[in-house]
């Protein structure tokens, strides 16, 4: 048998935390993890957000925080990885494609950042050819990360990882929010790399992409590997899958059962949220949208489809009152939107960890909008003990539920969900949308669901609008 490139045996990982005062407590995040990657193989590790997937990547690279200790072994090319060896290997033989585009240096031109990771050869030549290969315009190399769209920045991140020909590539959620073309490119690049004999560890919560890309899928939940399945087991209603959790994950996908569609019944309620002829452009001059108009009725779920970098978030911010449009206005139930007081339009952001003050316990976060005792918490599956914790101790999915609960107090009439569940696993996604849809019907809440995921919008919305059609650019 061929020796695996990377082998993880009974790996466990524990945090040391302080409960109250001076007592130390151990918090085990990864309990029992087994997997291996051969050359030319793409292995996807799929798990709910917060299940510890990213920590696995950090453990392989040896960049865990200081208060963590690990057990079990990680073998690279048959040898157990020690700290000193990891320092030598990382960035050379083992490379990481990080999760967040914040990993790019905001003050350095992207081309230069890519050139930094090239060790030998004509750096400018190599950088330009790789830009061409992944479909990035050459001028993009002379721009700063904030001048690129999200999808382009992600591609820059990805190529700075594999430009120097590593043996093993760890891709930590490299694809969320990408439009199909960019996604297809990333997938084909990764496949090419695997074809050239590299091993690829693909960490994601997105089963759909994992299935398109990987040779086998390792399902990971609550710190344990539950199942290692080949890609073709994911079909039908998941009869070939062994574990109920895997089946659940598969069936919660918007393409599959997801949730029963309840179309809007009560159409004759007064009032509407109306965006009239909004215009917005960047200071440098490129226009994001022009004379954009959009209407949301109470109780209605409007799906807005568009890809990353198209200006959806800016539009969402304007409608929710965070930004002022250059032209046009937002009218809520017949009145122009006001800047003071509680806004009836609330926005739920894509990244819950940025939308919550890291220095507040979650109880205080909910108290800010008076939701700490609401029955809604139960419906959203928020457990009482979460409220006593710090935001850093909860997963993205758990935090996003808190954000949804915070946004939905009794003054809220319209909810803007900007890629609300993009970072979450399918089970959590289904749960959150179930509650939001139910509330929309019961409370006549108008919802604008913004997403790049057409399958999801198909399932949840009454009307689907394409951003390209209304932005007039």
């Amino acid at each position: 048998m061929e020796m695996p490139l990377l082998e993880v045996n009974d790996f466990s990982l524990t945090f040391r935390t302080y409960e109250r005062g001076l007592r130390e407590k151990e918090l085990t995040v990864i309990r029992k993890l087994n997997m291996n990657i051969k050359r030319s193989e793409i292995v996807a590790v799929v798990g709910a957000s917060g299940s510890g997937k990213s920590l696995l990547a950090n453990a392989i690279l040896g960049i865990l925080p200081e208060h963590v200790h690990t057990n079990g072994e990680i073998k690279y090319k048959g040898r157990v990885l020690e700290r000193r060896e990891q320092e030598k290997l990382r960035g050379k033989e083992i490379c990481l494609i990080p999760q967040s585009v914040n990993a790019l240096d905001p003050l350095m031109k992207t081309g230069k950042q890519v050139r930094h990771s090239i060790k030998k050869g004509n750096r400018h030549e190599i950088q330009r050819s790789i830009f061409r290969k992944v479909g990035l315009p050459i001028e993009a190399g002379e721009k700063y990360p904030f001048e690129l769209s999200g999808g382009m920045a992600r591609r820059v991140l990805a190529i700075s990882a594999f430009v120097d020909n590593p043996e093993l590539i760890i891709a930590d959620e490299p694809t969320p929010g990408m439009d199909p073309a960019a996604l297809q490119e990333t997938i084909s690049i990764l496949k090419q790399l695997a074809g050239a004999g590299k091993g690829i560890l693909f960490i994601t919560h997105d089963i759909d992409t994992a299935l398109k890309l990987a040779d086998k899928v390792v399902v990971f939940n609550k710190g344990e590997t539950i199942e290692e399945a080949s890609v073709d087991a994911f079909s039908g209603t998941g009869e070939k899958l062994k574990h109920p959790f895997t089946k659940n994950l598969w069936n919660s996908m918007p393409q599959n059962k997801f949730l029963p569609i309840k179309k809007i019944t009560n159409r004759d309620i007064q009032g509407e949220l109306k965006a009239q002829e909004l215009c917005y452009s960047y200071p440098q001059g490129s226009t994001l949208f022009h004379e954009l108009s959009l209407t949301i009725k109470p109780g209605e779920i409007v799906g807005l489809h568009g890809y990353s970098g198209s200006g959806k978030t800016t539009m969402a911010k304007i409608i929710a009152g965070y930004l002022k449009p250059e032209e046009g206005r937002v009218i809520i139930d017949g009145h122009p939107s006001q800047t003071r007081g509680h806004s009836p339009v609330q926005l739920v952001w894509q990244h819950p960890e940025k939308a919550i003050n890291p220095r507040w316990k979650l109880k205080k976060v909910l108290q800010e909008s008076g939701m700490e005792n609401s029955p809604l918490l139960d419906e959203l599956g928020i457990k009482k003990e979460w409220l006593e914790r710090w935001p850093s101790e909860l997963s993205g999915g758990e935090l996003q539920r808190i954000c949804v609960a915070r946004a939905l107090n009794k003054h809220t009439k319209y909810l803007i969900a900007d890629e609300m569940t993009t970072m979450l696993d399918t089970v959590t996604q289904a749960k959150i949308w179930q509650v939001v849809i139910k509330l929309a019907r019961e409370r006549n809440l108008g919802v604008l669901a913004i997403s790049h995921d057409h399958a999801l919008l198909d399932r949840i919305s009454d009307v689907i609008v394409d951003f390209k059609d209304i932005s007039n650019v």
Binding site: H67, G321, S343, Q346, H351, K354, N357, R359, S392, N409
Partner: protein
């Protein structure tokens, strides 16, 4: 003993450091009350004696016990430093919170910061303390009015960054007032910064106090300030009375260092982000 200390948890160790530092600082404060006129009195029969068991730090050219003078001097420096840095921190906090009010307020505060930073520190310090009549009050106010700009600039940066944070935007959309946001979002975030700023300022303030006193613009010569002790001892160094400058100087350094340890340990205990690290 060492293995015992190692087995303690991080927080216990931090607590130990804090207790020891506070004890040390307290003993300086209490010590300065214990040494009265007797120890500081002129005893010509003991003059110019080198360190011994009866006079730990030796005596000066008037036979005064240097240990008593050093402790008194440290206590004085401690008082001046604490008072001046506290006033400075309060000034920095108020001005930095003003910057979030409006663009105009921000411009005015930034202008003041630039103004104060553009004048050489020591010159400004001497000017202010002189115009306020010198002495204890002059030195304290002079120190307080010259040490706030760099901290204010740091705090202003923090506030600018936080103003664009998503959770602050959400707070506004939930109908919270500017005061509410400042009180509950900004202030808790600024407190660790204030603390670090206070700590970095403290040694600065003490050393500046000592230096302008050394130059003769600060505290009056009859007070046993470290700066006075050091400047007087300069005249006797050449005749080999090294202990006059060595011990007071070392003690000053020690106190400054202890304040630094104290701050870092407290930060470990208070800050959830620092607290978990080794």
């Amino acid at each position: 003993m060492i293995s015992n200390i190692r087995s303690l948890s991080l927080r216990q160790r931090a607590l130990l450091t804090i207790t020891l530092s506070v004890l040390f600082l307290l003993s300086i404060a209490i010590g300065s009350f214990l040494f009265g006129e007797d120890e500081l009195a002129i005893q010509m029969q003991n003059k110019n004696s080198s360190p011994s068991l009866s006079h730990w730090f030796g005596t000066d050219w008037l036979g005064r016990d240097m240990f008593a003078r050093t402790v008194d001097g440290l206590a004085l420096s401690l008082g001046v430093g604490l008072l001046a840095s506290s006033i400075s921190v309060v000034i920095a906090l108020i001005l930095s919170l003003l910057t979030m009010w409006s663009e105009w307020a921000d411009r005015i505060v930034t202008w003041f910061i630039d103004l104060f930073l553009s004048v050489p520190h020591l010159v400004l310090l001497i000017l202010i303390s002189f115009s306020l009549g010198g002495g204890f009050k002059g030195v304290v106010l002079g120190l307080a009015f010259t040490h706030w700009p760099s901290l204010t600039r740091i705090l202003r940066g923090e506030i600018l960054q936080m103003k664009t944070a998503e959770y602050v935007g959400i707070s506004k959309q939930l109908g919270k007032s500017k005061w509410w946001v400042a009180r509950y979002h900004f202030l808790p975030h600024l407190i660790p910064q204030l603390f670090v700023g206070f700590l970095l300022m403290f040694p600065h303030a003490i050393l500046h106090e000592a230096s302008i006193t050394f130059l003769g613009f600060g505290l009056p010569a009859e007070q046993p300030a470290i700066g006075v002790i050091l400047s007087e001892s300069m005249r006797y160094l050449s005749v080999g009375m090294w202990w006059l400058a060595f011990f007071p100087g070392l003690s000053l350094l020690l106190m400054v260092g202890i304040f630094d340890r104290l701050g870092h340990s407290l930060q470990k205990l208070l800050d959830p982000f620092q607290g978990q690290k080794r």
